[in-house]
């Protein structure tokens, strides 16, 4: 009787929670996700940094006699239409793509946190000014803004940083402002004021540590999206100018050869998938850990 009862209720109680969360960490467990993600990211970073040692080839030197070679033991991922080793280009590209991905989350995070914090804490005119700007930036289509910025500044790493920072900061400002509004009315802020603390001290030492966690959780998911955005921009020809290897430009270059040399598109694409999975695992793990601490 009890066994029957248990059998009938257990799956129905377990399944929704597992499917409802719809995240990788729910499938593999929080600690496992964090460790697996961290190991995978470390491995990717290590391989990309060690690229000159690992690969005997140069990522930009052309070797037209060996163009469009399929994957083999000499060329693990094959070669492209200029005879460049794709494996070498993929691991060199990881340096660029990961750095852009990280910094294009870091800059908006800093900018959004500062502006959102000021809007929430100071209120009044500052709040109105900053939040109407946030609305404008949120409403602006991402690609139109990115294309605009890159068209004005010209393609390159700097314009990529600027474009993605302009596109991303408004979400962080929103999150931080909402959290600051709550924290500002808390008893501990009143108590801090009654103890004669300055506004700067209250803002930096009492409010900020209490509002920062949700932004880090958001940043963890944002970093995957940002890496995908950079590859999208590169695919559209707005990435780094050739011959610098990035995954997006490699896919863009390979698309004309998709029926004759499938490896040119597929293998850089798989690299993006792998980075996406490891960052998701790591991000979910960190987010769960932070939530638990709260």
């Amino acid at each position: 009787m009890t066994e029957e009862h248990a059998a009938s209720t257990l799956p129905s109680r377990r399944l929704p929670s597992l499917m409802g969360r719809g995240r990788l960490s729910a499938l593999v467990g929080q600690r496992t996700a964090l460790v697996a993600g961290a190991v995978m990211i470390s491995a990717i970073v290590l391989v990309s940094v060690m690229a000159p040692v690992i690969s005997p080839y140069d990522p930009v030197d052309q070797d037209l006699r060996n163009a469009l070679q399929p994957p083999s033991w000499t060329h693990l991922f094959g070669t492209d239409n200029f005879g460049r080793d794709i494996f070498t280009r993929v691991i060199y590209a990881a340096q660029v793509d990961l750095r852009i991905g990280f910094l294009c989350v870091f800059f908006p995070w800093v900018l959004g946190t500062i502006l959102g914090g000021i809007a929430g804490y100071a209120g009044g005119v500052f709040d109105t000014l900053i939040m109407r700007t946030v609305d404008t930036f949120t409403a602006f289509p991402f690609l139109v803004m990115a294309i605009g910025v890159i068209a004005i500044l010209g393609p390159g790493v700097t314009s990529m940083y600027i474009a993605l920072t302009l596109a991303g900061w408004s979400m962080y400002a929103r999150i931080v402002r909402a959290e600051v509004l709550v924290a500002k009315r808390s008893e501990y802020v009143l108590a801090a004021r009654a103890l004669g603390f300055s506004h700067t001290r209250i803002m930096l030492r009492h409010v900020l540590p209490n509002v920062i966690t949700p932004t880090i959780i958001f940043a963890m998911t944002d970093i995957v999206l940002v890496i995908l955005s950079t590859t999208t921009l590169a695919f559209l020809g707005l990435g780094l100018p050739p011959p610098a290897p990035t995954w997006g430009t490699m896919i863009a270059e390979g698309k004309s050869f998709i029926f004759t040399a499938w490896w040119m598109v597929t293998l850089p694409g798989l690299a993006i998938v792998l980075v996406g999975i490891s960052l998701s695992l790591f991000g979910d793990g960190v987010a769960d850990w932070l939530r638990e601490r709260e």
Binding site: E187, Y188, L190, A191, R193, A194, G196, S198, N210
Partner: protein, 341 residues
């Protein structure tokens, strides 16, 4: 000489419906080593009075009157000057101790922070050492270890002890305790009040104790001010107030307190009606719509705080009638006789 003298203090809070007279014409004084209780129901302006004195209300709040602390009028000071006084000369304990502590900082650091900010100690390690001393003084067991804990690892009563330690860190001369025991259960409440009394004696502290609990007042305070609708309606010693209140509101408030010594269980008498809307106040005496003794004069004329001798004052023109033994007649005399009961 009084340490803090509040004269004609008022605070107007602008709201969408109009100006809210949260505090009007409040007068009281307090000397070192004295404990003044401020009692009244919710919304009577107790907390607003305290926050007005410390300038903790927003800039939109219009303040008037004087709050002379040790020769300086606090209301005339700039925010920067007030910041030097808050915590250092006047400290405040807010109602909910658990949420008054920052959840992400260790309690030892929170106690030490005020001393560093106000520059009363030389170094961080000196501040931490003093924080541990303070924790011992307010009765937290094994303070060396507990200083490294976070607020959520403390019970409500222990949190209140930490908050008191934080308030005392810079050696203030006046402590404003805004309902310090409301969020605690009765046994813990007793311990915290005992602690406050002991600290007050040891440190020759002036304490303003805001509460709505008459029992707390009787136990702790040397003098009490009763507030109603933003005004002080009566000041007296607790003994005088309990035995012979000279304002019908004080009398009615005491009627709401159960009396264990009564020979026969009496029904508690709630005060008829509701406190007035502070945006649209009644003319004349603010208590007249609920007062059993109200006369035509009470309805039309603003009542000042009347000094009735012996350090007592009341805001009732019929206070002499209340001092008479026997029932007093007004339009309705149900609660008046309690004054002499």
């Amino acid at each position: 000489m009084a340490l803090l003298e509040v004269r004609n203090l008022s605070a107007d809070i602008p709201t969408r419906r109009g100006t809210l007279r949260a505090v009007e014409d409040v007068n009281f004084s307090i000397s070192s080593g004295e404990c003044l209780g401020i009692v009244g129901e919710s919304g009577s302006g107790k907390s607003v009075t305290c926050k007005t004195i410390l300038g903790l209300l927003g800039p939109s709040v219009e303040r008037d009157g004087e709050a002379v602390f040790d020769g300086t009028d606090l209301l005339s000071l700039t925010e920067a000057e007030l910041t030097r006084i808050r915590g250092r000369d006047i400290a405040m304990i807010v109602q909910d101790a658990v949420s008054a502590l920052n959840p992400v900082l260790r309690v030892g650091g929170q106690i030490a922070e005020g001393m560093i900010e106000q520059g009363v100690v030389g170094s961080r390690s000196a501040a931490m050492a003093r924080a541990v001393d303070l924790m011992r003084k307010v009765g937290i067991p094994s303070p060396e270890e507990r200083a490294r804990d976070y607020p959520h690892q403390f019970s409500g009563g222990m949190c209140q002890r930490v908050v008191i330690a934080t308030a005392l860190a810079c050696g203030p001369r006046l402590l404003i305790a805004d309902e310090p025991t409301t969020a605690l259960d009765v046994t813990v409440q007793d311990q915290i009040l005992a602690l406050l009394r002991q600290l007050q004696r040891d440190l020759d502290l002036a304490v303003i104790l805001v509460t709505h609990d008459m029992g707390v007042v009787a136990e702790t305070c040397q003098r009490v001010a009763v507030m109603y609708a933003g005004q002080v309606v009566e000041t007296a010693t607790p003994a005088e107030l309990f035995s012979a209140p000279r304002h019908p509101y004080s009398a009615a408030l005491l009627d709401c307190v159960p009396d264990l010594d009564a020979a026969q269980a009496e029904r508690l008498r709630p005060i008829e009606g509701l406190p007035p809307d502070l945006v649209d106040l009644p003319t004349g005496c603010r208590f007249h719509p609920r007062c059993p003794m109200a006369t035509a004069e009470c309805r039309s004329q603003k009542i000042p705080l009347i000094d009735i001798g012996g350090g007592r004052a009341t805001r009732c023109i019929r206070h002499e009638d209340m001092a008479q033994p026997g029932p007093v007649s007004g339009t309705d005399s149900t609660t008046a006789e309690v004054g002499t009961a």
